[in-house]
Amino acid sequence: MKHDPALYEFWPYKDRPKITWPNGARIAFWVAPNIEFYELDPPQNPARKPWARPHPDVLHYAQRDYGNRAGHWRMMEAMDRCGVRGSISLSVALCQHHPEIIEACAERNWEFFSHGIYNTRYCYGMDEAQERAIIEDSLETVMAATGQRIAGWLAPALTHTERTFDLLAEYGIKYTCDLFQDDQPQPVHVRKGRLISMPYSLEVNDVIAYNSYLMSPRRYGDILKMQFDQLYEEGAESGTVMCIPLHAYLVGHPHRIGPFAEALEYITSHEGVWVTTAREIAEYYYEHHYADTCRLLGMTPGEEIK
């Protein structure tokens, strides 16, 4: 076991080369709905139980399922109103279970990236072939359902192995949302190919806000605005990235959607905000900033794998 994952260089948030975004935007803003499928009776992973109670854990299963049945549609409407396309962190088995949701998102030109097969199948203990299998399954499943080649990754339930990032790069995945060390993208050390960390703003994830910090919905709306204000201010010096990671099973409830929608309106009504997707941020970053940053950090820029 490693003391330090050594996935990226130490890079203080001071005197960095200026990051620019299209049209002089100060901040790249993206929204990441996690559209997840949790199984009623998944197999056990030795490192982690999928459910707190004996199967079937009806209460918690249904709590998650609410997102796909009710919450998603409300969340999507709030995003539509602000012209925000989602970058979906997808349990790819949703393509089989709920093609209705996939179609609605594809119609809106939302981005799909992989969040594993199910959010009840963890990577702990996988051998390399098994880990390759979930990446290949993700690529094939999303391609078949949407015609999109996935460009990003957020490990299912944030479960990893020591080889996860090397494999992602090998398959041509452009960005990972799994590393929370920064508010700007950064090259990641991989064996072959290239990979960047995409700022995912985990601390303003609705799961963290509601389930860890036990926030009220209006307070969640407030921290989203405060998070934006600070990163927008700093973005005048060098472009920043803000993400709002969401789960429709939380934010999509009637008592929570209002303050979220208001924060979204607040953010998108500012000048100089690039309302975009993670894929577009990654593509722009590779084109304009990746190689220079690698050289600055003493890394060899990786070749693109298609």
Partner: protein
């Protein structure tokens, strides 16, 4: 079934404390302290630079902020690392703009891994406080004294070498000590320790070695306790710092100088949505006359002068 007879024996039942580290002396009985230039409240800001290993032993317990999920817990590793890469730089900027020096508690692992970060502290002329090796190297009575001494030396030798400072303050990781820790600190040139959260003012401790003082590093008013443990909002944090300051300022009018200590964790207070609250709290304090922003070593020195 019964308990052994000595369970009802009370060998330390006496006037004062149940140990000999320090005598009891109530706050109102203290000799009033004068701060430089007639200041009433010393403002002591104490950010911590901590390294949380990805593979902690968790012995004898996991320090707050340690890894949570099965290995490799990249979620917690990288969110903690955010503090040392991004959050602390926001805090530096606020403290610079407000002209506040800090005492920065540093794990020696941070000094070794990120020399540029330690340089931010030393080039400002701020104080480095010894903060152990890393957040998985706790001091506790499960270690024999030689092992604990070696752990202490590993941290202090490294911090003194890399900072060029004497390093006279100490904050144990997670405020965890063994029975021997104060003795070991006293014999290594440590003048003050921040682990004993039982007072608002410094006081002398008794050790088998050198002189050692306790300094009031407030856990109760820390960003971790208020924002994370109590789930307070940023506004509630500002209110509590302001209320604490108001109370201390009023007491200082009657009882001599007081100290407002503000421990800051960069991955907590340095988040984009929290940094302005930290600034507002400090601005509130600085908006009053009679505030002396100082390091722990400066505060202790002024306190000792007044004790005669």
């Amino acid at each position: 079934m019964s308990l052994p007879a000595d369970y009802l024996e009370y060998p330390w039942r006496r006037h004062g404390m149940d140990h000999d580290r320090y005598p009891y002396l109530s706050l109102p009985e203290r000799k009033p302290v004068s701060w430089p230039n007639g200041a009433k409240v010393a403002l002591w800001v104490i950010p911590a630079l901590e390294f949380f290993p990805l593979n902690p032993t968790g012995k004898p317990f996991k320090a707050p902020g340690s890894m949570v999920t099965p290995y490799p817990d990249l979620r917690h590793f990288t969110t903690r690392d955010y503090g040392n890469r991004v959050g602390i730089y926001r805090i530096f900027r606020v403290l610079d703009e407000l002209g506040i020096p800090a005492s920065v508690a540093v794990n020696s692992a941070v000094a070794e891994r990120y020399p540029a970060l330690l340089g931010e502290v030393t080039t400002r002329g701020w104080e480095v406080i010894g903060h152990g090796v890393d957040m998985d190297a706790l001091h506790h009575s499960g270690l024999d004294e030689a092992t604990e001494a070696a752990q202490l030396d590993k941290s202090l030798d490294s911090l003194r070498k890399h900072s060029g400072q004497l390093v006279t303050g100490w904050l144990s990781p997670a405020k965890s000590e063994s029975f021997a820790t104060p003795d070991l600190l006293g014999s290594r040139g440590i003048e003050y320790v921040c682990d004993w959260v039982n007072d608002d003012m410094p006081y002398a401790m008794t050790t088998s070695s050198g002189s050692l003082h306790s300094m009031p590093h407030s856990t109760e008013l820390s960003d971790r306790q208020l924002l994370i443990d109590y789930h307070c909002s940023e506004d509630e944090y500002v209110d509590q710092v302001s209320d604490a300051f108001d109370c201390l300022l009023a007491e200082a009018g009657r009882s001599g100088g007081r100290i407002l200590s503000l421990p800051l964790i960069p991955y907590i207070s340095g988040l984009p949505y929290r940094i302005k609250a930290m600034r507002r709290a400090l601005e509130y304090v600085l908006g009053h006359d009679g505030v002396w922003p100082a390091t722990g070593a400066q505060i202790l020195e002024a306190w000792r002068k007044g004790q005669g």
